[in-house]
Structures are given as structure tokens and as C-alpha cells.
């Protein structure tokens, strides 16, 4: 229990509760279940992407192409829908997830086989992915009226009172939680980031695990691509532009260490929710939404400072008396 209270999750829950309580004090409507469900729904895509980014960051890499990948896969789904309006959504979903995974695999292969720093690789693929959207469409938009109703309606349709979009997020939370805590792959991601040398000692292939982290990140970006396009019912080159930074921010706020090996599924979820609540609360408390960016900037800086303090290694304690006190 004591350990939990010191954890990032507990700090975030406390911060979120304080924030929500303060808002609710003046604007009780904010904490009605229906409004909170709206906030969650609005944050769903950020949550899904944060998990992909988390897997990559755990291995001491970073995926800056995640939003561009989303945009490209989103455009692919829109174009498929325009060309074959009657095609089953299951097929569309399968295609975007696969496409995203392949784009992620390109990142992963460059990092794994050529040892290029992930920041350079994904900086490059980020512009390539966006450029590819332009090549596919010649810069044209795919507008709402060109998409089929089923395509647009699916994420909004409700199941048990929640939109399908929210259910996607919930299911992904479950799957990622299983992957991270219950599979050898998930645990190996932590091992690689925490102690790469020791990971080799226990027989983990560091490069290969990184590759799969990028594939996972890509697949989730692909899925998010469809969700984004269908939700906003428009597709063009610049959708979700700059969103990769929100995703990294959610991870950092969630306590995922940029130097790898540290971070939990709960942390990433709460980090994303924190940003989502800030974004949704501002209009409610009559603060101009233009404050959102500066606020998330300050939150990121504070979160990094917290992360760094938690990570600062204790030196070797040689004196027995000091050890007893410590």
C-alpha cells in the first residue's frame, strides 16, 4: 500500500481527482457520468496511441511517426471506403491494422538491422508517410459525403451505453495490459530498457524485441487511423498533425521514462486521461481553449522533473551506519 501511494499512478489519480473536484465545485455538470463518458470517448484515440508509444519508449526508442502513420492509414481506410463503399468494416479494419503494422515494421527494421537511432528513422518516415498521403490523393480531401454511412457511424454507435470508440479503447487497454504483464514479449520490453546488457545475459534479442515494439505501435496507429477519420468524417494530408507530441506527452506524464524500462499501462492510461480532462475541462470553466497548449507544456515539464527524481539512482552505500539509516 505504501508503495502504491508513492507510485506515479497514485499521484496521477490524486491529481486527476483534485482537478475534477475543483471543476465540479463550480460546474457540477462536469462530473455527470454522461459527461465523463464523453471525456473518455474523446480521449480514446490518445489512449490507444499512448500504449503503442509506451511499448517503443520502454525499449529506449521513440516513434515520432506515430501520428503520420495514423494519418496515412486513415486515408487508406477512407480511400478504400470511397472505392468500395459496401466493403465490410471488418475488412477495412484488418487492412488498416496490417498497413499500420507494416509501416511500423519499416521503422523497426531500420532500427533493428541498420542500428539507426530511432529518432532519425521516425523523423524521416514521418515526412515520408505524410508525403505518401499526398501522393495517394494529390492533396485532395475525402469529405464526409463521400464516405459511406456505415463507415462513419460505426465508432459512434453505442453498445451498453458507450460508443464503440470507447469500447475500442477499453478492449485495447485490456489487451495491452495482458501483453505487458502476461507475456514474455511484454516483460522483455521492460528488461531491455531497464538493463540492456543484462537482457543479453538472459538471452533476449534486443533488436528483435524493439522491432516488435515498433510493429505494435504501428498497428495501433493504423487502427487509430480509421477511428480518427470516421469520427471526424474527413481525411486530408494534415490530420493529426503534431499529435505525436501529445502522445509522447501522455507517456511522459504517465511516468514512462524516456530513458526506457520504466512505466506501466495504468500510467500511460492516466497520463492520456489527464491531458484529455484538461482539454475537455477548459471550455467548461470558461478558459479559452488556447490555454490548453501552455498548460500541457507545464505539465510535461513537471512530469519530467518527477520522473527524473524517481529515477535518480542511489549511490553505492558503503558505510554500514548509513545503510542502517537508509
Amino acid at each position: 500500500m505504501k508503495i502504491f501511494l508513492r507510485s506515479r499512478e497514485a499521484q496521477l489519480i490524486a491529481a486527476i481527482l483534485v482537478m475534477v473536484a475543483a471543476i465540479a465545485f463550480r460546474f457540477p455538470a462536469f462530473i455527470t457520468p454522461s459527461n465523463l463518458a464523453l471525456v473518455f470517448n474523446d480521449t480514446s484515440i490518445l489512449i490507444i496511441l499512448a500504449f503503442g508509444q509506451m511499448a517503443v519508449i520502454l525499449t529506449r526508442c521513440i516513434d515520432l511517426s506515430i501520428a503520420a502513420n495514423l494519418a496515412l492509414c486513415g486515408m487508406i481506410s477512407a480511400l478504400i471506403n470511397v472505392a468500395y463503399p459496401d466493403l465490410s468494416l471488418v475488412v477495412v479494419l484488418t487492412v488498416v491494422v496490417l498497413a499500420g503494422a507494416i509501416f511500423g515494421a519499416i521503422n523497426g527494421l531500420l532500427v533493428w538491422k541498420l542500428d539507426i537511432p530511432s529518432i532519425v528513422v521516425t523523423l524521416g518516415t514521418m515526412t515520408i508517410f505524410r508525403g505518401t498521403i499526398f501522393l495517394l490523393t494529390n492533396g485532395a480531401w475525402v469529405n464526409a459525403h463521400e464516405m459511406s454511412d456505415a463507415f462513419k457511424a460505426f465508432p459512434r454507435s453505442t453498445l451498453l451505453g458507450l460508443p464503440i470508440l470507447s469500447w475500442f479503447a477499453i478492449i485495447i487497454i485490456g489487451i495491452i495490459w495482458l501483453v505487458m504483464t502476461r507475456t514474455a514479449f511484454g516483460r522483455s520490453l521492460y528488461a531491455i530498457g531497464g538493463n540492456p546488457v543484462a537482457a543479453v545475459y538472459v538471452g533476449i534479442d534486443v533488436g528483435k524485441a524493439r522491432f516488435w515494439a515498433f510493429v505494435l505501435s504501428g498497428a495501433l496507429a493504423g487502427l487509430s487511423g480509421y477511428l480518427w477519420i470516421s469520427r471526424y468524417a474527413v481525411a486530408y494530408v494534415d490530420i493529426a498533425s503534431g499529435f505525436e507530441l501529445d502522445v509522447v506527452a501522455a507517456c511522459v506524464i504517465g511516468g514512462i521514462s524516456i530513458s526506457g524500462g520504466i512505466g506501466t499501462v495504468g500510467g500511460a492510461l492516466l497520463g492520456a486521461l489527464f491531458l484529455g480532462i484538461v482539454k475537455n475541462a477548459l471550455p467548461v470553466i470558461h478558459v479559452s481553449p488556447f490555454w490548453q497548449m501552455a498548460i500541457s507544456g507545464i505539465v510535461i515539464i513537471i512530469a519530467v522533473a518527477f520522473n527524473a527524481r524517481a529515477e535518480r539512482k542511489k549511490g553505492r552505500i558503503i558505510l554500514k551506519s548509513a545503510e542502517a539509516k537508509a
Partner: protein, 536 residues
């Protein structure tokens, strides 16, 4: 054990850790006789291994017997760590054979060694701080449920049983980072047991443990023995060796110089084997002429690392610092050099009190430090030799901030020549040099600043014999020229051969001070290990 960055990324497979029951790697040959301990379960013969510029191991042999503890004894740099890396598949030997149960095997990667039942518990525990105890124990071979997912309840239960079996009071669900060093060791031991090891290597397992914890560890070693495991126990501490070991093997300078049963030997014989060399001949120690006191340290304290260190140092004097690894010597030296902040104490240089709160200030005052971790703290790999040498002297070689390459080359040439550096040119990348020559570059860098006090931390660690002699000779020469020298060393002959005076540290405190005349190997070893006269 220090883990170098030189691991070749082998074609390891992620899921290839063995699930018990283990696949037999070698044909199980039934020993000719039933008496446990007569046939070695693991043996090495003719093993050699070289690195650029260093011969780490030469034609060494080792045999481990089931149910017995073999102590591996040797100074730092004797080749023990390299041997452990060969036994666990991290390094490949240049020559020689590894046999498990009599059959020749090869360990091309780490998991091959663990498949064969060889596991190591390392000095600086190589585990994962952010994973739980249970996950650390079972990483790579966790129990699975029928969906193929990690079966946490089963893993927890198994971990609990393993930990209980070794008497460890550790909750399998705690994160490793929340444990103390002793508990981490226990987790490492549990991991070793979880893969059903036949051979357990314990690399200086007691280096960071308290007396009580050491006693508990020994109980555990006895338990492992009774389970028929073959144990390789690496330690500097003689009392521990006599307490737990059945057999011993002594390494010196990468060669095996002795082996036998512990009951047939004694403390003195082992020290002699380990130290070996005739001390007077190797070390070029001339007549010492001392000048005035240059450095005076009073009651230097650090909150966690050392306490009440006081010393004086005269010009022309070499002051040796002896102690076991982790005794706080390097930590003290780095505080003196301004890298860490002491909590109390004063430093006087040439009679004037000085405050050294960063390395730049220390260098200005004329106190310089040749670090033990040469690759990390000494040389700037990627820069050429001359830039390494002039780095602290740029204010001298440059004019109002603008570089003067000709001055830099002059300075570098002068000092590389003095130190007889072996290189093709001054523009060669320093990382392409051998360990000994890199050390010469670091020393040249500091001499170029014309220091008053030079601190050498394990100056000959990991360098070849030839360069060692050169460094020793040079150290004497420096002292003769009136430089005040502090030398930290864990090598007895070096300390005894080079020092005018010797301070021994143990557990962060001064454990004795000896003049050159009164110092003997036995005295130093006893002071460092804290053994009383009777125990030895």
C-alpha cells in the same frame, strides 16, 4: 563483475530459455563410480583468451565437482571475470575446451550456457530493477497458462517456494528496486535455482554484504552443496574461502598457478600463490626524498560513502591506498577531486585551505585524478590522442580562446614522448589504442597541466605486463621529480612495491596506516578484510 560493452549481439532467441525438464544438451555419461565428487561435472582445459593489447587468459584449466565448492582466487586483472564470461557464453575462448559431464560443449551465446545448467550470480547483480522479484526469477522461462500467457499465480507460488527454500524473507511481488543489495543477491540465487542449474558461479557474492548476511549466504551455499550443485566461489577474502570452499584454484596474470584441496593448504601458501612475484625485483622503486607536506586532509566525511579520512602527503612521496573492492577508496578520491560533495572535513594544499567543489577547480589547484574506469571517465573516445591530452590545458595552448594546433601538437608530442606512447600518430583516435597506451594518454593529459598532486586509481588495472612496468617506472620518476602521488590499488605487490606509505581502507573507514618498512602482505590483507590475528 563489470560488464563490458563489447558483447557481440549474438543470434539469441527470445523464448529459448529452458522450461524444466531441461533438454539434455550433452549425453549424460554415467560416471564409472558412484562416489559423488570424483568426476568433475564441469571442466575447462587449455582455455586462452586475448583482447587487443591484453592477454586475459592463457592456457587455464578448471574443474568443478558436484556437491563441492571450488574457490577461484586471484587479484584484480588475474582473469577471473573473463573466465566467468567464457563459462556463461558471453565470451568465446580463442582456444581450449569446455566439458560438461565429460562431453565437449560450446556456448555460442548466453542461453546455451544456461541450457547446459551453468548459471552465474554476478558481483554487481545483473537483474532488472523495474520488474518484480518473481519476474526477475522467471524472466525467459515463466510458467504459462493454457492461453500461453504468463501464469502469474503459478509464478508467484513457485517464486515463493524457491525463496522460502533459501530462507529469503522476500515478497515475490515487490519490485526489485525496492530491495537492498543482500536481498537482490538472494533473488539472483533463486533465479539460478529456478533454471535447475548444475553449476553455480558466485562472483564475489559477499562484496556488498554485512556480516550477518554473509553468514546467511554461507548457510545457503551449504544447502546448495547438499543438493549436489557444483559451485565456483570467487572471492578475495581468505576467511570466507576457508569457511566454505573444498577446493581452490589460483589465477595470476591470466594463468593458473595452483589448485588443490583447501584442507591441504593454508593462508600463507595461498597468499604466496596469489601474489607470486618477487616484489623487490619488479618494482623500480628508487630512494625516496620527501619534501614539504603538499596535501593535508582532515576528517573527510561523506554521508554514505566514507568517514573520517585524514591524511598528509609530502612532495616526492607515493601514498598507497589498499583495500577490497568497494571499500570506498575511489569514492574518497573522487570527493578529493571535486566530483562529489563531502559532508565534512577540510583540505589544505601547501598550507592553504582550499575548497574543491568541481573538477575544474581541482585541476586549477593542481590536484588531478587518473580514474579507475578508464573508458568511461578517462579517455574521450572519438577524439584523437592530442585532443585528449590538451583538453584540460586548452587555456594554455590556445590564444584568447582560439585554438593553436601547433601548440597542441607540441604539448602532446612532449608528453607522449616522455611516456613512450606507442601509436602511429598523434591524430589517431584514442579508442584504437591498447589499454596500457590509453592509460599513458590519460597520464600525459594530467602531466601537461603541471599538477602538484596526482591521484592514480588502479593505474595498472586491465593493462598488459609491459605497460604495467612502464607505468610503475614512470610513477617512481614523477615522485623523484617532486610530485606528490596517491596510488589506489587492489594489487598487493603493486601497493607494497611502489608505496612509501600505505593506508588501508575498509568499509569506508581507515583501517590502518603502515610505513613501507612495516607493511607485509599479511598485515594489509588482514587490515583490509578485518581479520584478527587469531583467525588467520
Amino acid at each position: 563483475m563489470k560488464i563490458g560493452g563489447t558483447l557481440a549481439a549474438g543470434p539469441f532467441q527470445r523464448h529459448s530459455m529452458p522450461l524444466p525438464p531441461r533438454k539434455p544438451v550433452t549425453r549424460m555419461e554415467t560416471p564409472q563410480n558412484d562416489i559423488v565428487g570424483t568426476a568433475p561435472v564441469f571442466s575447462l582445459s587449455g582455455i586462452s583468451k586475448s583482447f587487443p593489447g591484453v592477454r586475459a587468459l592463457h592456457n587455464v584449466a578448471l574443474e568443478l565437482f558436484p556437491g563441492q565448492v571450488t574457490a577461484l582466487i586471484g587479484e584484480n586483472g588475474a582473469g577471473k571475470s573473463t573466465l566467468v564470461k567464457i563459462m556463461t557464453g558471453i565470451y568465446q575462448p580463442d582456444a581450449g575446451e569446455i566439458r560438461v559431464n565429460g562431453s565437449v560443449v560450446k556456448f555460442p551465446a548466453a542461453h546455451h550456457a544456461s541450457l547446459a545448467g551453468v548459471t552465474a550470480i554476478h558481483q554487481e547483480t545483473v537483474l532488472f530493477d523495474e520488474l518484480t522479484v518473481a519476474e526477475n526469477i522467471f524472466l525467459g522461462h515463466a510458467p504459462r497458462n493454457r492461453f500461453g500467457l504468463i501464469d502469474h499465480p503459478a509464478m508467484r507460488a513457485k517464486a515463493k517456494a524457491l525463496l522460502f527454500g533459501i530462507g529469503a524473507d522476500v515478497d515475490p511481488e515487490t519490485l526489485l528496486r525496492d530491495l537492498g543489495i543482500a536481498s537482490k543477491h538472494l533473488v539472483a540465487i533463486a533465479r539460478a535455482l529456478s533454471i535447475d542449474a548444475r553449476v553455480v558461479i558466485m562472483d564475489e557474492p559477499t562484496a556488498a554484504l554485512s556480516h550477518k548476511e554473509i553468514a546467511e549466504l554461507f548457510t545457503l551455499v551449504d544447502q546448495l552443496k547438499s543438493q549436489g550443485k557444483a559451485i565456483l566461489f570467487i572471492s578475495h577474502k581468505f576467511d570466507e574461502i576457508f569457511r566454505v570452499a573444498d577446493r581452490y584454484t589460483v589465477f595470476r596474470d591470466g594463468e593458473m598457478v595452483g589448485a588443490g584441496l583447501v584442507k591441504d593448504t593454508n593462508h600463507d601458501k595461498l597468499v604466496k600463490l596469489m601474489v607470486g612475484r618477487d616484489i623487490g625485483q619488479v618494482f623500480p622503486k628508487g630512494e625516496s626524498k620527501f619534501g614539504d607536506v603538499v596535501l593535508k586532509v582532515r576528517n573527510f566525511c561523506h554521508p554514505t560513502e566514507f568517514e573520517s579520512i585524514s591524511l598528509y602527503l609530502r612532495a616526492g612521496e607515493i601514498l598507497g591506498f589498499y583495500g577490497l573492492v568497494g571499500a570506498g577508496r575511489s569514492e574518497f578520491m573522487q570527493a578529493l577531486f571535486g566530483m562529489t560533495k563531502p559532508s565534512r572535513g577540510t583540505v589544505e594544499l601547501e598550507g592553504k585551505p582550499i575548497v574543491v567543489n568541481n573538477a575544474a577547480r581541482a585541476v586549477q589547484h593542481g590536484i588531478v585524478y587518473v580514474p579507475e574506469e578508464r573508458g568511461r571517465q578517462g579517455t574521450v573516445a572519438g577524439l584523437p590522442i592530442f585532443m585528449n591530452i590538451t583538453l584540460p590545458s586548452l587555456h594554455v595552448t590556445s590564444r584568447s580562446g582560439f585554438l593553436k594546433l601547433a601548440n597542441e601538437f607540441d604539448l602532446a608530442r612532449t608528453y607522449t614522448q616522455r611516456l613512450d606512447l606507442r601509436a602511429s600518430s598523434l591524430s589517431q583516435d584514442v579508442s584504437t589504442l591498447s589499454g596500457g597506451n590509453q592509460q599513458k594518454v590519460v597520464i600525459a593529459k594530467w602531466l601537461a597541466t603541471k599538477p602538484k598532486v596526482i591521484i592514480l586509481d588502479e593505474p595498472t588495472k586491465g593493462i598488459d605486463i609491459g605497460s604495467k612496468a612502464a607505468v610503475h617506472a614512470f610513477m617512481s620518476e614523477l615522485a623523484r621529480e617532486g610530485l606528490a602521488v596517491i596510488m589506489v590499488s587492489s594489487e598487493l605487490p603493486e601497493v607494497l612495491g611502489m608505496s612509501d606509505r600505505i593506508i588501508v581502507m575498509r568499509e569506508g573507514r581507515m583501517a590502518g596506516e603502515f610505513s613501507r618498512q612495516e607493511a607485509t602482505p599479511e598485515l594489509l590483507v588482514r587490515a583490509a578484510a578485518g581479520i584478527s590475528e587469531q583467525a588467520a
